[in-house]
């Protein structure tokens, strides 16, 4: 057993346990946690069966297997960033809507209060 043989699977497990604990303590949404669970699981799987990487690299026709890993992780990271940007822009829009409707409501409440106090 070399260092990598123990550390890498362990790292995968730690990722999964950490994500689970976050979800369990209600600090992370279940929907978003699926992706990170899968990442942890993939690390675990690849570190136990390094041959998988060779198979995938042969399959896509890349001679140097580790570069497949870099390729996949880069694509995944880009995907994650894009998704986050999307969410961020949506949140931003929602926040603006919320601020506006709050201001309008405040205005209506104030108008009602003024009307009530003038009636008394």
């Amino acid at each position: 057993m070399t260092f990598q043989n123990i550390m890498l699977p362990l790292f995968g497990i730690i990722v999964m346990v950490y994500v689970f604990l976050r979800v369990k303590r209600n600090q992370f949404s279940i929907e978003l946690s699926i992706f990170w669970m899968l990442i942890g699981f993939t690390i675990f799987l690849l570190s136990i069966f390094p041959k998988l990487l060779d198979i995938i690299s042969q399959w896509v026709g890349i001679y140097y297997p580790p570069s497949v890993l870099f390729l996949i992780s880069t694509i995944l990271l880009l995907f994650v960033i894009f998704r986050q940007e999307q969410m961020l822009s949506k949140l931003n829009e929602n926040l603006k809507d919320l601020a506006q409707s709050n201001a309008l409501l405040e205005g209506r409440v104030k108008a009602l209060e003024d009307r009530d106090s003038s009636q008394v």
Binding site: F20, V23, K24, R25, N26, F28, S29, I30, E31, S33, I34, M37, E93, N94, D97, L98, Q100, S101
Partner: protein
Amino acid sequence: MIIPVFNEVENLSTVVDELQRDLPDFDILVINDGSTDETAALLKTMDYIHTLSLPFNVGYSLALKTGFKYANQNHYDYIIQFDGDGQHIASEALKLTEHILATKADIVIGSRFMEASDYPHSPIRRLGTGIFKSLIRFFCRQSIHDPTSGFQVLSRRVVQLYADMPYFPQFPDANLIVDMILSGYKVSEVPVKMRQRLSGKGMHENIYSSFYYMMLILYNILIILVKHLFKTKGESR
């Protein structure tokens, strides 16, 4: 009675009229989940119902949760979850409320599949319902025939719990039922009739979204099971 709606201008007046006619003693709360059609204008003309309007579309589950918060604030003892698309039949709600009053259950589900019915169900949905059913039977030792039904009556303590639950699930279905049964709440089921939705499309109509929905619920149930496994081992919060 809580009805979350999103773009239901065609069905809403039929649904509300039916509720008014068959259940005159119930308070009706319609939650407009940021509809982009004339739903909001239509709701303004119905002054005999309570309405809440969300400033943008937040999704079914959060709209429902808003209703729970409202029920909590106004101290309702029981609430009925009802769909705004005409699937649920108003007079059937009485069966659920009678049952919950008689048995003091926490959650009563209106079930389409307890008795042989001609309710049309797509093969994928049928498969999903079958899987959820057997999972619940295996892990909770209880038979729930229709775990994805949105026609439910909830008691006050369930409403309180849901209203304050952080990260309330995106699809509050089978996963939530598993969680509630394992947490010791009393869940039971009453057979009801349902219709096809009157017009328009439902939430899980295409194959991709129903597959995503299935996976999400299964994953959700898995997390909940592991969570409860740890609890029984004495590691409680």
